[in-house]
């Protein structure tokens, strides 16, 4: 793991940098990437993270909450094919936010408040802690993480594929912690609500100061009241982000006034100075004397998050740490708390928690294992093929009460399933779609695939994605071609009269050139071959990952290309806006390491081309 000397709370965290740094090692040591999240934006995962993880060598698994699961299927092209998604349907919410990338040499974990999505990774004001470990040293908190994952993997709420992925992570962390030269206690501790209510992790003695901020409060501010009862602060500040924080101001004021009246404590509600960025981070910070510490992570200031353990409460993960300076956003005191415009318009989903849901769908052999939850009424399972996200057909009917069904199926990875049923009023209701996982492609490490077969399975989007192992595989394949050509050929054996000639030339009347080209296509597979030769796509056995139903059709390689407008008033002041004809291909969406690697690959490919037969030297003419 690259050591990033970025300690200290005043420096902000860029979670993506850590994943890019791991991918930049180019040794493919990582075995598993695991994302535990409440909301999951798979479009974000696929466009920004997935290839980094796979370049690092890992399988990818996402475990998310079933009740807020609402993927836009047109933005998801690789679920079930390159990664697995498992959903958790529970009494509370599945709410942890942990992103992990682990291997035998290095491990990385981001524990925080941000969900898997642009909001959680960049747009919002989120709190995060990054743990890194390698063979030289590992933080003790990594052992905490290993332990809480170990208990999570045994929860019955998880599907088998997700549980296996978590267990692999646990084993990998165990191995790394045993191998590392030193386990360092940094003072950080991790705790999970499935091992006990998180409030139990907090001090039981009075503190001087308590500082609170979270995106969500209880309607009756019960969690704040419980925190006051436990920590008994002499001073209290609660930050509210105007227009954003989900809180009942009157309930909060009631709790705070009651506490202040009873204890004489100084109690203040402040207006968060951040007005544009959604503060989604959760902070319970306390001070005693000159020391300061905090609980951060996933729990909001709610009963379900803090006061209860899962599954009666939410699945949450918090991290406790000493602080060198406060993380509290501060702000100006609010005189009339009840008058502060806050967010109270988002009611919990009316049917969350009582609707039938499919939580995973996995192919095993010729069978489909479909895991269900809350099937309190008869439902119909419908499927849509990968190739058509809008065309839903009946698969099977399921009677109320079933939790899992196994049935023979010709579905493939990437196909979708949903449940359809009638509500009490006879109206048709549908669940969100889940993606069928093909473990052969979704739960195998990129490096486990034989390299020739890997390139044979690849599509053009794979080749120019950020998973550079596809480019490596292509180069390996070309090197193999060169090596075969260079091998000394045994003289042909004497052929008995009338014996058939070994087929080294086309049997048909096909042009020799076409025959050679076909051989090359066979070697490179139906996805890459035609693309590189500039030929129409061929039918292929496995899934094509460049579907025609996404919204970014025709946008590959383009940035913010827009229609022209009449620049009647164009002058020298805005000359720079004119596009020049010699513009280079756009790689602006890629990390610098990826760009450098691609350039290096091009140099090597050009070098390798000198030893290739003619038909291979034409590769790229169509790309």
């Amino acid at each position: 793991m690259i050591k990033l000397v970025e300690s200290g709370v005043t420096q902000s965290i860029v979670p993506m940098r850590y994943f890019a740094a791991e991918a930049a090692h180019r040794d493919g040591q990582a075995t598993d990437a695991l994302f535990l999240t409440f909301n999951a934006d798979l479009a974000f995962l696929e466009s920004r993270l997935l290839d980094l993880c796979r370049t690092a060598g890992s399988r990818v698994t996402v475990v998310a909450d079933a009740d807020v699961w609402a993927p836009d299927v047109r933005c998801v092209t690789r679920a079930g094919l390159r990664y697995h998604v498992g959903l958790v349907a529970t009494g509370g919410a599945f709410h942890p936010k942990i992103s992990l990338l682990v291997g035998p040499k290095r491990a990385l974990a981001v524990v925080g408040s941000g969900n898997l999505g642009m909001g959680g990774w960049q747009h919002n004001a989120e709190l995060a802690t990054v743990l890194t470990a390698d063979l030289q040293a590992a933080p003790r908190a990594m052992a905490d993480l290993r332990d809480l994952l170990g208990t999570l993997a045994n929860r019955r709420e998880l599907d088998l594929t997700s549980a296996e992925a978590i267990n692999r992570v646990v084993n990998q962390l165990t191995g790394l912690l045993e191998s590392t030269a030193e386990v360092v206690d940094t003072g950080h501790r991790l705790a999970a609500s499935w091992d006990g209510a998180l409030i139990e992790q907090l001090p039981t003695h009075p503190v001087d100061e308590l500082l609170l901020t979270a995106a969500f409060h209880d309607p009756d501010s019960a969690a704040v009241a419980a925190l006051l009862g436990r920590l008994q602060p002499k001073r209290l500040q609660v930050a509210i982000q105007q227009g954003w924080t989900m809180v009942d101001p009157m309930a909060l004021e009631r709790v705070l006034t009651s506490y202040a009246t009873a204890t004489g404590a100084a109690v203040t509600v402040v207006r968060d100075p951040e007005v544009r960025r959604y503060r989604h981070g959760k902070l319970i910070e306390w001070a005693l004397g000159s020391s300061r510490a905090a609980l951060t992570g996933s729990p909001n200031l709610t009963r379900m998050a803090l006061l209860r353990s899962a599954p009666e409460g939410n699945f949450e993960v918090g991290i406790l740490a000493d602080l060198t300076e406060s993380l509290f956003p501060g702000g100006t005191a609010i005189e009339q708390v009840a008058a502060v415009p806050v967010r109270s318009t988002i009611a919990p989903r009316p049917h969350a928690g009582d609707r039938p849901v499919a939580t995973s769908a996995v192919l095993t052999g010729g069978n489909l294992t479909l895991r269900l939850a809350r099937v309190t009424t008869d439902v119909e399972v419908q499927f849509s093929r990968y190739t058509d996200p809008d065309a839903w057909q009946r698969l099977v009917s399921v009677t109320a009460g079933l939790g899992e069904i196994v049935l023979p199926s010709d579905l493939c990875g990437g196909d979708r399933l949903r449940l359809v049923w009638s509500d009490e009023d006879g109206n048709a209701q549908t669940s969100a779609a889940v993606f069928v996982t093909d473990p052969f492609t979704a739960q195998r490490r990129p490096t486990e695939h034989g390299r020739p077969s890997r390139i044979k399975e690849a599509s053009p989007s794979d080749l120019w994605g950020e998973d550079l192992s596809f480019l490596e595989s292509l180069l390996d394949e070309l090197a193999a071609v060169s090596a075969e050509l260079a091998e000394p050929k045994a003289p042909p054996a004497a052929r008995p009269m009338g014996a058939p000639i070994a087929r080294t030339t086309p049997e048909t009347k096909m042009e020799p050139w076409l025959w050679l080209q076909n051989r090359a296509l066979e070697r490179l597979g139906p996805g890459i071959g035609p693309y590189l030769f500039g030929l129409p796509p061929l039918p292929k056995g496995r899934r094509e990952l460049t579907p025609n139903w996404t919204d970014d059709q025709g946008m590959e390689g383009q940035t913010d290309t827009e229609p022209e407008v009449d620049q009647e008033h164009t002058d020298e002041q805005n000359e720079e806006s004119v596009e020049v004809e010699t513009a280079e291909a756009d790689h602006s969406q890629s990390w610098p390491q990826i760009r450098k690697a691609r350039r290096r690959w091009c140099v090597r490919a050009a070098e390798a081309a000198r030893t290739l037969p003619a038909q291979y030297r034409l590769l790229g003419t169509g790309a």
Binding site: V14, N115, T129
Partner: protein
């Protein structure tokens, strides 16, 4: 203290070395936004096709004579074996001289005042009474443009597409469509003038035949006109498509009695709905007519999506639950089922079969002030989708292109499929669905457009509306730009070669233009 609070660890706890753990800390501020344009990206098909048919000019090509100038520089450079720096110097000097002559002669062409580099060149003429070429054409202070290749970039796309000038190994070279002899004849003396260090006003005025307004009657003007009209070209070739578009524009402009402002706003509906245009034999004989009809019709849907999205974005005050977007749209629409709503839309055709003419149903709903803006937009989109089955094959092929658009959302074909799916259900529910689809598509497009910033390690995403954590969050107004057909740009270039003219702000076809 804190460690005992947090961990209960003993006093010999190893303190945190740098690197093992970072945080807890706030993640980096998301400061990298750039101005987002067309977040729905629904105009790509029309834009792409427009660029296949209208290649003779772009938004930055103002004067036909620069086509000749760049051709002359390419030919001269080739003949003299100039290096890149020498070619750049020649090009810049020629552009300065052409600009100087045109400014000196500007009173004779009040409609062609936008001369490239006018600020610096006019300043030089006004203050010094002459052009001092080493400074003006140089790359330092006082230069006529900071662009190294002068204004060639403004013309590059059109000059390349028309085969006049190509780019090869870092140099401009004559293209197969360049009539070098005619260019040399038409711009005779320009290169010689460009060699001077100083050119006074009298000298510039004495060479008014090189002015941008004098091209039509010159050899280079005739050559360019021939090139643009491409007599006998295959209609499906680029020359043919471009030439047919030019002929279509000239005919439309003539039938319409001229045009002002954005020509596509007047001539487009005229082409689609006016019986005069529909029955015109000249237009009917052009293959490009069907294509442009399809594109104009599609553009109506594109604009409806733009206006609808703008309206939706306006409903967001900072942040709003995504579901509320749909509710807001539903509140602005009538009650009843989708089928009933569609039944209430105006007639789309008069008659039936091949003789049926399109009626301006879209114009009627757009002008219907009894409808809310979202209602007008939705009605337009429904009309577009319903027209899919009524269009002649060639028009339909340009109305929607499965090849480039695939089966993405918000196409007319997608809308048509949704009509079938939602027909019997309440319009309110359909509105909620539609709003969610638009929001999802906008998010997908924004992710696709995001670009990486090396210095921050963050992705810069287009500003506008972002959707995360169940909220639609607006950080600026989205900027939608309607598709520009380049019709004004083409008509402007045609004026340079004498086929159109601008009189009192109105574009008209010249007598010569009527003859093509």
């Amino acid at each position: 203290m804190a460690s005992s609070h947090v961990t209960g660890a003993a006093a010999n706890v190893t303190r945190m070395p740098s690197g093992l753990i970072k945080g807890p800390a706030w993640i980096a501020p998301d400061t990298g936004r750039f101005v987002g344009q067309n977040p729905l990206a629904v105009g790509r098909h029309v834009t792409a096709q427009t660029r296949k048919f209208a290649i003779a000019a772009t938004s930055t090509t103002f004067h036909a004579r620069y086509y000749s100038l760049h051709g002359l520089v390419a030919a001269e450079s080739r003949d003299r074996g100039l290096s890149q720096s020498e070619q750049i110097d020649l090009l810049r000097r020629c552009e300065v001289v052409l600009g100087g002559i045109s400014i000196a002669h500007r009173e004779c062409h009040p409609g062609m005042l936008h001369i490239h580099g006018i600020n610096a060149i006019r300043t030089s003429l006004d203050s010094r009474g002459e052009l001092f070429l080493p400074i003006l054409a140089g790359q330092g202070a006082g230069r006529y443009t900071k662009r190294r290749w002068g204004f060639r970039d403004y013309y590059a796309a059109a000059e390349t597409a028309t085969g006049l000038v190509h780019w090869r190994e870092g140099l401009l070279v004559p293209g197969p469509g360049l009539n070098a002899k005619a260019v040399r004849e038409g711009l005779c003396g320009l290169v010689e003038l460009a060699r001077h260090e100083r050119l006074d006003l009298a000298t510039l005025q004495a060479h008014s035949e090189l002015c941008i307004c004098r091209m039509a009657g010159s050899a280079d003007g005739r050559a360019l006109r021939d090139r643009l009209l491409a007599e006998g070209a295959d209609p499906m070739s680029w020359e043919g498509r471009s030439a047919q578009t030019i002929r279509l524009l000239l005919r439309l402009l003539d039938l319409h009695g001229g045009g002002t402002g954005e020509l596509q706003d007047d001539l487009g509906p005229f082409l689609l709905f006016d019986p005069v245009a529909s029955r015109d034999e000249t237009l009917a004989s052009l293959d490009a007519t069907s294509a442009w009809k399809g594109l104009v019709l599609r553009d109506i849907s594109v604009r409806a999506w733009h206006r609808l999205w703008e309206w939706l974005v306006d409903q967001i005050d900072g942040a709003m639950p995504v579901e509320r977007l749909g509710e807001a749209l539903a509140d602005a629409l009538p009650t009843g089922s989708l089928a009933r709503y569609i039944q209430g839309l105006p007639e789309r055709l008069t008659g039936s079969g091949p003789d049926g003419l399109m009626l301006p149903a879209e114009e009627l709903v757009t002008r219907d002030q009894g409808r809310t803006l979202p209602d007008r937009c939705l009605a337009t989109l429904m009309l577009g989708a319903k027209r899919m089955d009524e269009l002649p094959t060639r028009v339909a092929a340009y109305f929607e292109d499965p090849g480039s658009e695939g089966r993405s959302r918000l196409r007319p074909g997608w809308v048509r499929a949704q009509i079938q799916e939602w027909s019997d259900r309440p319009l309110r529910e359909f509105a909620a669905f539609l709003a969610a689809q638009m929001a999802s598509r906008a998010q997908q497009i924004a992710l696709t457009k995001a670009r990486f910033n090396e210095s921050t390690g963050l992705y810069e995403v287009p500003s506008g509306v972002s959707i995360h954590d169940g909220l639609a969050i607006r950080d600026s107004s989205d900027w939608t730009i309607d598709v520009w057909f380049r019709w004004n740009a083409i008509v402007r270039i045609l004026a340079g070669v004498g086929l159109t003219d601008q009189v009192d702000g109105q574009w008209q076809v010249t007598e010569e233009g009527r003859l093509v």
